[in-house]
Amino acid sequence: MPTLDDYKGQTPAWCPGCGNFGILKAFKEAFVELGIEPHEFTIVSGIGQSSKFPHYVRCNTFNGLHGRTLPVATGVRLANHEMLVLAVAGDGDCYGEGGNHLMHAIRRNISVKLFVHDNQIYGLTKGQASPTSMEGMVTKNQPFGVLSEQLNPMVMAIALDCSFVARGYAGDQEHLKGLIKEAVNHKGFSIVDILQPCVTFNNVNTYAWYGQRVYHIESDYNPEDRMKAFQKALEWGERIPIGIIYKNNRPTFEERVPVIKDTPLVSQSFGLNILRAITEEISREFY
């Protein structure tokens, strides 16, 4: 069984007090409790402070381009659907640059577990608005305040009938750990939007701000009721729900691809002779 030591990666380059630390801690504890070893999963990340995450975890890692986590993760998962595949991205990465990919990953229902470190600001580029920045927030780049409506990723995911939709909070690690475990164990595409204070650039959505607002979704809440889920997901402002907002049992993409029913692509072996025989067999059709 793995221990926390097995997950000791590189030293994080995050700011002291960064919400990412809480997420990292919850993640490692969740994986130790799940009994998953570092070589048994792959994290695909993009670009942003959050995307340095896999370097600090110790695992198979593809730290790709800004916004492109989900296509890479989809490719990894299709090549080897016995491998647990996670995607880690920030709000700018996943909701801005990679918005199109998110929509289609949800549609496919590829079994990738997406964790969005949502700090409602661009940290790496030093403090511009992100798609989830609240309307009116003033930054150096938005001197008149954010004019666009704040994206609600939870409502969007439910609208696309996403298979698992949850929100966590970096300041509530015990609760977050549970969500991570639920997401990993869920069959299908999972999105966990993690509210994450940015101590350097976001002085609106602070630990104190979130602390006054987040609450655990009631224990009698039924996350399989889609209409109720829309209502729950729309809550924002004075009270912000965290927990599993919506889930369903849609069949996964991998289940519906017949050629990998028995064996993952990467385990389907062949050699030169087989390939020559295939070429000859197909080439007969040209006569």
Binding site: T61, V76, A79, S283
Partner: protein, 579 residues
């Protein structure tokens, strides 16, 4: 000039609106001829629309190898008025146009026109008007004096799913067209008979698809874009049988990133597009380079900028493919000129891409991608497959594993994540040997040296010499790359009696092959007239040769009207230079 030698050769053009079934007639006739043992070359010209407009399908059959289309045609199948308006003048002296006056609502009294009631004969045969195409196909065979036996075999294959009644009616329709012509085409002077055993008829997109499957490609993700879509469709058609995942991505950015994800996970992967779609893939190309993830990219060119001429042809993305991607990294570009080259070079693309963990391009264009050629057969011995991954026990027994380890030849061990307890880590950021982000300048330099300088000489060593065809110490050298192969080769054939002429064709265009293997610069240097032939405006290959070798061609022939070079037109243009 062409035609001086006596050999049997005819060109047939089927013209009409999109949706009229030109391709069905063309494909069927081409197959009848290849099965009859003839050499066949086909090419298509179509507009960017689903119905209407004017399109054509041209077939050349010959008892000698055919590698390009002719400007003169012997039989014109006119399914619309435009076919006659645009192509009547292309008819040879003995050429004949067939049409259905009831469809075109016009009658032509000239002796080279034959009015055949395609529609009426189709309905009389027990079918509907769509079977007029089968009547026309039968009629063409009748004009050529070829019987309908091979056509019936083909109909049996293609109509398998439609049931016995449909097949019967189609056979009847073919006989009706065939019989009508035998009775009424007194001016038909053509005559062909089956001459040898059937030949293979292969399209270039199909050859690339087959080459990929035969190289162990297990993952193809792309976004549809003319003229590259045929590759995806071909592989998708074989996906179930041969265990391949073909995923239509939401955009080209996703397409290349998915392919890279699959490749990272240990599966041979490919993507394809045309210029505009590839433009979106460019950051992914750079990602492939930085993460040293193998990928094969088919880039089927069409005229640009922007949407350009979506269904037409051009060779104007060579320098784009060469320079695409931010940063400095190695790449290989192949540009096949025939289906055989397309097949073997796709195979080589996979091998080199896996061996050196680099991106490899297969550059075609619409003319070539949509063309079909007869092929004598596939030499299976030429296909290679080497598994360059470390797997199984070999990986497990390593005491440590570093995905980007520094090595003598710059190639780091490629392990499959999950295969062992060793972690496979890579990063689009500059990284250390393990694959973790680094800010260290020295490591950066060592990584650049590893990825680029150490690999380059080995990669260059893999590249085959250009193909010199014709005179071995020529006065005139026509040089080109990719799709101009056919027209250049036939030009050499046509002129070699009177001129010391040769073709120098590059199908492995970048990096250029070493002159130690074959000193093509010496051949060029000694020639009196060297001409670089390109289907683009600025002579991109000539620029590449100059940049890489300092050699400047004496002349350039460029065509950039979106149409391919045809034999007579090219000979005319060449004459203007050679005199």
């Amino acid at each position: 000039m062409v035609g001086q030698e006596v050999f049997l050769e005819y060109s047939i053009k089927i013209g009409g609106e999109a949706g009229q079934g030109i391709q069905t007639i063309g494909d069927t006739l081409a197959r009848v001829f290849s099965r009859s043992g003839y050499h066949v070359f086909t090419h298509q010209d179509y507009e960017s629309r689903i119905r209407g407009g004017h399109n054509f399908y041209q077939i050349r059959l010959s008892d000698k190898p055919a590698a390009a289309s002719r400007d003169r045609i012997d039989i014109l199948v006119a399914l619309d008025r435009e076919s006659i308006l645009f192509h009547e003048r292309e008819l040879t002296d003995s050429g004949i146009a067939i049409y259905d006056s009831s469809t075109l609502n016009e009658t032509h009294e000239k002796p080279q026109f034959l009015d055949i009631p395609f529609k009426e004969l189709a309905i009389k045969s027990g079918g509907d008007r769509i079977m007029a195409n089968t009547v026309a196909t039968g009629a063409v065979l009748g004009m050529l004096g070829l019987d309908t036996e091979i056509l019936f075999e083909i109909l049996k294959d293609t109509l398998k799913k439609k049931g016995e009644d449909v097949l019967k009616a189609n056979k009847k329709a073919a006989i009706a067209g065939h019989g009508f012509v035998i009775k009424n085409c007194l001016q038909c002077s053509f005559s062909i008979i089956p001459i040898s055993k059937p030949k293979m008829l292969v399209g270039v997109n199909e050859a690339i698809g087959l080459g990929a499957i035969g190289s162990g490609c297990k993952f193809y993700s792309a976004y549809p874009m003319t003229p590259s879509t045929g590759i995806m469709l071909y592989i998708a058609g074989k996906a179930k049988e041969y265990g391949i995942i073909v995923e239509q991505a939401e955009d080209e950015i996703a397409a290349i990133n998915m392919a890279l994800g699959a490749s990272f996970a240990g599966v041979r992967s490919m993507t394809g597009s045309s210029g505009g779609g590839f433009a979106l893939m460019v950051e992914g190309l750079s990602l492939a380079a930085m993460t040293e993830t193998p990928i094969v990219i088919a880039l089927a060119q069409r005229p640009a900028p922007a949407t350009g001429f979506p269904t037409r042809t051009e060779q104007a993305d060579l320098l784009f493919a060469l320079h695409a991607g931010h940063g400095e990294f190695p790449r290989v570009i192949f540009a096949p000129g025939t289906p055989e080259q397309a097949l073997y070079l796709t195979n080589k693309a996979f091998d080199i891409s896996q061996k050196y963990q680099i991106p490899v391009f297969i550059l075609t264009d619409q003319y070539l991608a949509d063309s079909q050629w007869t092929v004598e057969g596939i030499d299976l011995e030429r296909l290679v497959y080497n598994d360059y991954r470390i797997r199984g026990d070999e990986l497990k027994k390593l005491s440590e594993y570093k995905r980007h380890a520094f090595t003598e030849n710059g190639i780091s061990p490629f392990a499959v994540p999950g295969d062992s307890r060793h972690l496979v880590v890579t990063d689009s950021d500059e990284h250390d040997e393990e694959g973790h982000i680094t800010e260290d300048g020295l490591i950066r330099m060592k990584m650049v040296n590893k990825r680029l300088f150490k690999k380059l000489p080995f990669i260059k060593g893999e590249i085959s010499s250009p193909y010199l065809y014709g005179n071995s110490s020529p006065d005139i050298v026509i040089t080109g790359w990719g799709s101009t192969y056919g027209v250049m080769k036939e030009t050499v054939d046509a002129l070699s009696k009177n001129e010391k002429i040769a073709m120098l064709h590059f199908s492995e265009v970048y990096p250029l092959s070493s002159i130690d293997k074959f000193d093509y610069l010496n051949i060029l240097g000694r020639a009196k007239m060297t001409i670089c032939v390109e289907n683009n405006a600025t002579g991109q290959f000539a620029q590449l040769i100059r940049a890489e070798t300092g050699y400047e061609f004496h002349r350039r022939i460029n065509r950039y009207d979106g149409r391919p070079f045809t034999l007579e037109a090219f000979l005319g243009e060449l004459n203007a230079h050679v005199g």
